[in-house]
Amino acid sequence: MVIFFVAPAFIFTVVFIAYPALMSAYYSLYQWRGMSEARTFVGLENWQQLFSDPVILQCIWHNLALVAVAVLIGIPLAFAIALVLARAKVFGRSLYRTAYFFPVVLSVTVVGVLWSWVYNPQYGLLNEGLRAIGLGQLAKPWLGDSKLVMPAVLLVTVWRFTGFYIIVFMAALESIPRDIYDVATLDGTNLWQLGIHVLVPMLREVIIVTIAIAITASIKRFDLIYVMTMGGPVHDSELLATYMYKKAFLSFDMGYASTIAFFLFLLTLALVVIQLQSMRREEAVEF
């Protein structure tokens, strides 16, 4: 009887998640073009290649930049906005909430194409806007410039994902008992002090989990960059996931691509474990 209820879900997850994930580790030990059955066992050669591949290093830097921007800019900004929306005198609070979250539900293709229009060198909104206010010399081919492409893409990630963190923090702030706000108001504490000294420590758990989510999502990030730049120019906005995808489905180097996929998984795991460990330990020292 129990089997009847549990088995279908298990069959799906084993066939489409567990088995492929294990096979990925296995493939990473082979050289394999994907088209034929001919696989050659190469041991750890793919892993050696990975650690000496300069593109991988570039990808890691770009992924870490995504993490840094999400954790150092996106999350604090979202917390501040959520706090203001939850506590300050704001007209049309729910309208703001609806609008801020909207970029999160948009299709990634729409987001990518929209922003590539903003950044378009000739007719783009950004360059046209700069020319209109007399700063035409600042007009740049934003996505075509090896130095500017990452900042440009990072801005889009902030635009797309900050709404998500705002909603998380707004929901978390709602769970805080009203008395705390009342006491703080009586004490004459302003919103800023209240946020830093009272609410951040109280919402510690939520913040830690949110940072973990931001790390995982940033290391896995694929679609937005793939749609906007395909990792280019050359590899100047390449991420681990876009590199893996290109290796697998454009150059059919399935063995190496599997190695990158597995590395991506291990990197996420390592970063999240380090983050949780260090943030939880701080907590232990505090009390």
């Binding site: 009887m1 129990v2 209820f5 549990v6 279908p8 879900a9 298990f10 799906f12 997850t13 066939v15 489409f16 998640i17 567990a18 088995y19 492929p20 994930a21 096979m23 990925s24 203001v84 929306l85 300050a88 005198k89 007209f91 703001y96 609806t98 609008a99 801020y100 909207f102 999160v104 539900v105 948009l106 299709s107 990634v108 293709t109 729409v110 194409v113 929209l114 007719y123 783009g124 909104l125 046209e128 635009w159 998500f164 909603i167 998380v168 929901a171 989990v209 989510i213 995982t216 896995k220 694929f222 679609d223 995808y245 697998a248 489905f249 996929a261 597995f262 991506l264 998984f265 996420t268």
Partner: protein, 298 residues
């Protein structure tokens, strides 16, 4: 908030008024600044989309002379052109079919599993539950390449199931967790009473658990539908036949073909976005709950 000053003579009353005004202004200014700040963020969050809407109503020469300009009339030519000459209607239908079937299967399988894990205690049920949850932490990327060959071996290529299979599988752990959390809170007396009345386990699931779990099922439905509708990685890797492509990937082809025709592209993107806007405005509470549950309950 603003103290009334005692007034005696006309001049001191005026002075008081003046001070009142400044006190009020000072009092108000942080709020004004805050509201302005929030409003400018709102414009920033929303403007690209409004711009896309405007552009879809314009003509290319108009656009190239002033990208920031407004449409001069309600001109739906671009929409007609895109709907009639591009495969967007097909992509649209594919997205709808794949997302609907996936969401239905997710709902069915995860509520069944959630029922078993919350109410039918069996030896090792907790271990099994945590093993099942562990799949939640496996990123799709790591399964991507081998999945390609699994799907080939299962002869699912060139069917909708090439996407439905992975979509359902990757959504199950999280959906089950959410639904189980809700089902645990349903009072056991109800089930005991039903058992005494001779209800089978299946009819308890069907007649009691499912109807009572409606709020969480609504969250899972809307959230998973939107996730499937927007999924990109699997759709890009697994579907190569044009008439099976879903919107996110199909749109990229469309963008490639209409490369220089920005206004038509804008109309195409609008067609893809309008259903999402409607679903979002109707069910935003469920979408937000579904998306943030991981952070708030994890």
């Amino acid at each position: 908030m603003v103290k009334q000053l005692p007034t005696e003579t006309e001049s001191s009353r005026r002075k008081g008024e003046k001070r009142n005004f400044f006190v009020r202004l000072q009092d108000l200014s942080p709020h004004v600044v805050l509201n302005l700040f929030l409003f400018s963020l709102l414009v920033l969050a929303f403007y690209p989309l409004i711009w896309m809407g405007f552009t879809s109503l314009r003509t290319n020469p108009e656009l190239y002379t002033s990208p920031w300009g407004l449409p001069t009339k309600l001109n739906l030519e671009n929409y007609v052109k895109v709907w009639e000459t591009s495969p967007i209607p097909t992509y649209f239908l594919n997205s709808f079919i794949v997302s609907s079937i996936s969401t239905f299967l997710i709902l069915l399988l995860s509520s069944m599993a959630a029922y078993a894990f919350s109410r039918l205690k069996f030896p090792g049920s907790n271990v099994l539950f945590y093993a099942f949850l562990a799949f939640y932490f496996i990123p799709p990327h790591i399964a991507l390449i081998p999945l390609f060959f699994v799907l080939k071996a299962l002869r699912l290529q060139n069917t909708y199931f090439v996407l439905i299979g992975p979509y359902v599988a990757f959504a199950l752990p999280f959906s089950t967790l959410l639904i189980r959390g809700f089902m645990v809170s349903i009072p056991g007396e109800l089930i005991d009473a039903a058992l005494i009345d001779g209800c089978s386990k299946f009819s308890i699931f069907h007649r009691i658990m499912l109807p009572l779990s409606k709020p969480v099922l609504a969250v899972v439905t809307v959230f998973q539908f939107v996730s499937c509708w927007n999924e990109y990685l699997f759709a890009l890797a697994f579907i190569h036949k044009r008439n099976l492509k879903t919107l996110p990937v199909g749109l990229m082809d469309f963008v490639g073909e209409f490369h220089t025709d920005w206004v038509a592209m804008a109309a195409g993107l609008m067609i893809a976005t309008i259903p999402i806007i409607i679903v979002y405005l109707l069910f935003q509470r469920q979408i937000m709950q579904g998306m943030t549950a991981g952070a708030l309950k994890g």
